[in-house]
Symmetry: C2
Subunit: 306 residues, 2 copies
């Protein structure tokens, strides 16, 4: 014989256990008394045993009913837990989103986005990995991250990539540097000055070198961290060229930043997710938030992504 129990039956049973009256228990179950009676009877029929001894004056559990009571409470509790858990996930009252975001975005732009997200969905746990592009993508591939914002496009059978935003490059120099006030900026002017660069493995460095080709940069120093670059520039050791999204490193009274005149010198930021599985409700909400608040172009000709 095939079991079929419903939480309605269990709740009705427990109501009757507590009320010891069909009439009152029926009210609690939002049923007419005869309908409630039938519900209890159906449960008893399925179990093959009377659960209550009832007369017109008393309703009492049988021995088998007492044996069932504890189990019924347990099952109902588990079922309610399962139900509310999923309902909370669905209502974004609970959940978890794992992001993998380039450090530049993670430090400058992301905090305000997450602040708004958290204000709206305070129950959703956030897990941010501020790592380089390759690691970002690897995290999505392995499932450790739901979404990644990375600088490299990947289109594999398992990963889906879409353009998230573009990021144009800016000159950074001391406020008293000639280039800070020079009316017209030309590439050749920039190439002439000593430059504080990121290390050759950085994607920023590669963008810059490709854009300036065939000119050669006058690299006087290579560093790993942009904050160090800022310190060096502030000390007057050279100038630098960095993407707009990292300019927050250079907000300092001694420093000036200027858009570069190169139209083609833009890097692209991609949003990466898995192709095979859909986003969780929480991750979907995050996706929408990210897209809604995506960084605007700081260059003169602003551009919106698709």
């Amino acid at each position: 014989m095939q079991m079929n129990l419903s939480t309605r039956q269990l709740r009705a049973f427990l109501h009757l256990v507590e009320e010891r009256s069909f009439t009152r228990a029926a009210t609690l179950s939002h049923l007419s008394q005869p309908a409630f009676s039938a519900l209890i009877r159906s449960l008893e029929d399925e179990l093959g045993v009377r659960l209550f001894d009832r007369t017109t004056r008393s309703v009492e559990l049988t021995a088998e009913g007492r044996a069932f009571e504890a189990a019924a409470r347990r099952v109902l509790r588990e079922a309610e837990d399962a139900w509310t858990d999923v309902r909370q996930l669905a209502a974004r009252q609970r959940g978890r989103v794992a992001l993998a975001v380039l450090p530049a975005l993670a430090a400058g732009w992301l905090p305000q986005v997450l602040a708004r997200f958290h204000a709206q969905w305070p129950g959703i746990q956030l897990d941010v990995a501020d790592v380089l592009s390759e690691d970002c993508i690897e995290r999505v591939r392995s499932g450790r991250a739901d979404l990644a914002l990375a600088a490299t496009r990947v289109d594999t059978p398992e990963l889906r990539t879409e353009l998230f935003c573009t990021d144009d490059f800016h000159l950074v120099c001391r406020r008293d540097h000639p280039l800070a006030t020079q009316p017209q900026l030309r590439l050749a002017d920039i190439a002439a000055h000593p430059m504080i660069q990121l290390s050759r493995s950085s994607s920023v460095r590669q963008y810059v070198e490709a854009a300036i080709h065939p000119l050669q940069l006058n690299t006087m120093m290579e560093l790993d961290q942009l904050s160090t670059v800022a310190g060096m520039v502030r000390a007057g050791l050279g100038i630098s060229v960095v993407p707009a999204l990292t300019l927050f490193h250079f907000e300092h009274p001694q420093l000036a930043t200027r858009p570069l005149p190169l139209r083609g010198l833009k890097r692209q930021i991609f949003l990466v997710r898995r192709r095979d599985r859909s986003l969780s409700v929480a991750a979907q909400a995050m996706y929408e938030q990210l897209m809604a608040l995506r960084p605007r172009q700081t260059a003169p000709n602003r551009r919106r992504g698709a």
Copy 2:
């Protein structure tokens, strides 16, 4: 919103998780594929979230579906356990019966009854207290015993008593004693001989004294245990008068037993149970077994209880 989950839904869900195909899972659930589809949809609607990403080529759990899976398994398992437990109680495959039975019945008559009961319902645990009447009744009153077989009638608001059987008294003496072969037994003859008695607190003793009144018994010894009485009689120290149900103590080549000529000298054995609660399925089966196999009168004029 009111939760309503059924085990059918959970089973359908888990079938689909395992089969990853609506068609196959529908077969497992004994439903047409569209009906199965509607069942999954109803579950998703109640939970407020998609549990599966499905295309015509693939069916995969969503993140929320994965979260629900573990809970669903747990709930279904608990529900099935609860269900089978009660079904087993109902089918007498499991359970427990606690009896409180007079030692005389417990030693002589009860074993064969319990042997048959156990052969028929091997899963039912038996708990026998072979104690005196007062203790028997107290055990039923306190709920430690489901049924009692005792020698005293009680009719309180909480206990129900019914006549179980009657037990007439027999003379016990040595085979070479004059009374063993005397054609006609008279009370006066018995009263004349030295008698081995149970102690004054025994119900048997009280029955005998009441029946023989106003004659006085020639008591030469008082004991507590019938097996000791048997030894004394066997040694030729005297005769005794005991209920038929205790005669198994006196089955010995040297001993003779004879029905007494006293019609009124019968003790009654009562079956006692609680008035307010019904018997468990197992206890009910035991009750029927006890009644079906109740001891027959050994006296010439046999009598059946109501």
